[in-house]
């Protein structure tokens, strides 16, 4: 090799030694450093030359050096390299870290060991990474087993609850027999005793039902059956029952309604369950002579139902866990009030399934205010007069029939999105219907399907005389599927179509226990998407919230409309309290909007890991928004659409 070549090759090796961050060194047979690289020397705080001739004993603690010497000896005596041995080391500057050591023997040209080459690499970061990965796997495993446990628990509750019902039914049946004197007369005292026995079987039944509900809700096997309902109507229905119940405790129960019907799309039975839970709680926890108010309030795009009492209230300590399972707070004397503590947790889950919010404001000794919201629906009457007449005519002539009603809510919006006229939309739907009826093999000269189309009102009803309930079920599900397909092919995805039993508001027919008389069963299909009175815009900007007692909180808004703002804050506000807000849209910082607002609804946000303070999402409605501000918001909303 020529000198230049040598020099170049030497430079390559020099670069390797100087710039590689790993520690590289050469030792002789006695363990003395022949040469070390920059990284090694730097790590010890000296220059490479200073290490030549030194051994580990000169640099590290005796124990450590001894271990290293052992390794060296092993490598040089056996000729077996040590590769990637992981060791924990403490550097001279005190930092603990992990290193991977590789030592291989060096031979002369006669094959005799003359020393070794060592490479030590800092793998502290790799180790940390490994540990994090292990921790993550550990946590995932724990989570998995927790979920499994939870599923098993739910299934257990479900199975046991079903099993409990059967003997309970037997007990109820047997006691009723004696109570009704079917097997002989009984005296007054005996009757009293048996009455108490029956009351307790009812209590037991309620507990089992609650347990089943909660386990089903948790396993996500609870199915909701939606229909269009006037919530005012729903609540009025049980007025009598509750007023009587309240009177027994000399409690004055008052209902406050808005002056108009409020339509919501809900599972009527389940929402009834929530109302029942809240009002019966209010009665339970209010002393004799107290007052309870049930108030239905219309909000911009929601309806809010409040149950406000002057009862014993909830202490601050219990407030945060009030909606938890199996929580029971101190009650008034009276064992008949004991449940198993599931009512509120079921109510919360049901409200949330309906995409509503539920919250409580309470003061021990003063009373409690429970609120929940439901999203509103704008719609028209369900059965038009002409249709009702047709139906009653058929009923009178004894022909059994099925009735399928399609209602497209917010027709206008769909039309816009699909860019077709209302008439062609209904023509298309009619064509789909004809196809579906053909496929379902429903026909016959005497069984003409009647369809009533009312495009302006977005209604489309089909009466199927002479169809069996099976056929009606088939037709409805096929229709639903085909209509969804149709909308989908026109790029409208968020159509919801549901087949449910007749809406609660329907007064034309009577039903016993939700099971229709066999000659007349009704299925309804609703198509619609949520309508809002005001257009909304979601964006982030800083909003100043002027709280009472002179505090000011900053928040990022969630969305804004002409009607109000929805934002996330750390403060707990009082429902219906009034405050001031001020904000500006990012692109238009000079136009500051200030407004008075009222707290419409509150939702507590579940804490994520690492968060220590509570967060609430609140809906604030503008009170008498200035025209100037209205204009600014409106302009912004138009721009974004």
């Amino acid at each position: 090799m020529g000198f230049k070549e040598l020099k170049d090759k030497y430079q390559l090796l020099r670069d390797l030694m100087d710039f590689i961050p790993d520690v590289i060194y050469f030792k002789d047979k006695q363990g003395r450093f022949i040469m070390v690289n920059q990284a090694h020397a730097k790590g010890l705080g000296v220059k490479p030359e200073a290490l030549v001739g030194k051994t580990d004993f000169d640099l590290f603690s005796k124990n450590r050096a001894r271990k290293m010497a052992q390794d060296d000896a092993h490598v040089m005596n056996t000729g077996k390299p040590i590769i990637d041995k992981v060791e924990r080391a403490t550097r001279p500057d005190g930092v603990d870290n992990y290193v991977s050591t590789t030592k291989i023997p060096r031979y002369d040209d006669k094959g005799r060991v003359i020393g070794l080459i060592g490479i030590t690499r800092d793998i502290t970061r790799r180790m940390q990474f490994e540990r994090l990965r292990k921790d993550k796997l550990c946590v995932e495993k724990k989570l998995e087993s927790l979920e499994e446990l939870s599923a098993m628990k739910s299934e257990f509750i479900s199975t046991v609850s079903h099993e409990l019902r059967t003997p309970l039914a037997v007990i109820k049946g047997l006691v009723t027999i004696v109570f009704n004197e079917v097997v002989g007369q009984i005296n007054h005292k005996q009757k009293e005793v048996l009455q108490k026995t029956l009351d307790n079987t009812e209590r037991l039944k309620k507990i089992i039902d609650d347990l089943l509900d909660i386990s089903r809700i948790e396993r996500n096997t609870l199915k909701l059956h939606y229909s269009l309902v006037d919530i005012v109507d729903l609540i009025k229905d049980s007025e009598g029952f509750f007023i009587k119940l309240a009177e027994e405790k000399n409690i004055r129960l008052k209902y406050v309604y808005p002056g108009e019907p409020v339509n919501v799309f809900i599972d009527a039975d389940r929402v009834r369950q929530v109302i029942f839970n809240l009002i019966s709680n209010a009665i339970k926890f209010t002393m004799d002579g107290g007052k309870i108010k049930v108030e239905v309030k219309i909000l911009e795009s929601k309806v809010r139902i409040g149950v406000i009492d002057t009862g014993i209230g909830i202490s601050k300590a219990d407030l945060s866990s009030i909606f938890n399972k199996f929580t029971q707070v101190s009650r008034l004397p009276g064992a008949e009030n004991k449940g198993v503590g599931l009512g509120l947790s079921i109510s919360k889950k049901l409200v949330e399934r309906h995409k509503g919010e539920i919250w409580v404001e309470s003061k021990a000794g003063v009373g409690s205010k429970f609120y929940f919201t439901l999203r509103r629906f704008y719609t028209l009457d369900m059965l038009g007069k002409s249709l009702r007449n047709k139906v009653s005519r058929l009923m009178k002539s004894g022909i059994s029939m099925h009735f399928v009603s399609l209602m497209i809510l917010n027709c206008g919006e769909f039309r816009k999105r699909m860019r077709i006229s209302l008439d062609s939309l209904f023509k298309d739907l009619h064509a789909i219907l004809v196809l579906v009826l053909k496929n379902a093999k429903y026909s016959g000269a005497d069984k003409q399907a009647m369809s009533v189309i009312n495009p302006k009102a977005g209604k489309f009803s089909i009466i199927l005389p002479g169809a069996s309930s099976r056929q009606a079920a088939n037709i409805s599900s096929l229709l639903k599927y085909k209509i969804k397909q149709y909308f989908s092919s026109n790029k409208v995805e968020d159509v919801f179509i549901t087949i449910g039993s007749l809406s609660y508001s329907q007064k034309v027919l009577s039903q016993d226990d939700g099971f229709s008389p066999s000659r007349f069963s009704i299925k309804e299909i609703y198509i619609g998407s949520e309508m809002r009175r005001f257009k909304r815009l979601s964006f982030k900007t800083n909003i100043k919230l002027f709280l009472p007692d002179e505090k000011v909180e900053l928040s990022e808004s969630v969305d804004v409309s002409e009607g109000g703002i929805c934002l996330v804050i750390k403060h707990l506000l009082k429902t219906d309290s009034e405050l001031k807000v001020s904000f500006a849209f990012p692109e238009n910082k000079e136009s500051i909007i200030t407004a008075k607002v009222r707290v419409a609804w509150i939702k507590k946000i579940e804490l994520l890991f690492g968060e220590s303070f509570e967060k609430y999402k609140v809906g604030l409605e503008f009170i008498n928004l200035e025209n100037r501000c209205k204009k600014i918001i409106r302009r912004r909303l138009l721009n974004k659409s």
């Binding site: 079903h162 309970l168 037997v170 049946g173 027999i177 199915k223 309930s469 099971f515």
Partner: protein
């Protein structure tokens, strides 16, 4: 007037006992079977005026029995009340689909059951 005959297809002996007492007190003649197959055979042989059918039965389940009877010209006129501890919507819907005339969940209100029976027998 001859007594109306009600067939109970129910595997809980005490439940049969309780229903028996109540129904006989109302002047019904009560027949009973404690498993699905026996119940089906008895329904076909005896052609009762009404059947109270438990859903959770050994041998054949209640839904199947209901379907078999309701889809058979000879027996489809016999009203069937389904009877069970399961009260979920899909159970009720399934009941509708196999042609049941009514559905009662346990524990039940005996007055409600009796009202249903008289309503169905009147037809």
């Amino acid at each position: 007037m001859p007594k109306k005959r009600i067939l109970l297809i129910e595997d809980e002996a005490d439940m049969v006992y309780a229903l028996n007492i109540q129904l006989e007190a109302l002047n019904f003649e009560v027949l009973s079977a404690s498993d699905g197959q026996a119940g089906l055979d008895m329904a076909r042989k005896e052609k009762p005026d009404l059947i109270i059918l438990d859903l959770m039965l050994p041998k054949i389940d209640g839904y199947k029995i209901c379907r078999l009877l309701k889809f058979d010209e000879k027996y489809k006129k016999i009203p069937i009340i389904m009877f069970t501890a399961r009260a979920q919507e899909q159970d009720k819907k399934l009941g509708q689909e196999v042609g049941a005339d009514a559905y009662i969940t346990k524990p039940f209100d005996s007055k409600a059951l009796l009202d249903k029976i008289s309503a169905l027998l009147k037809k």
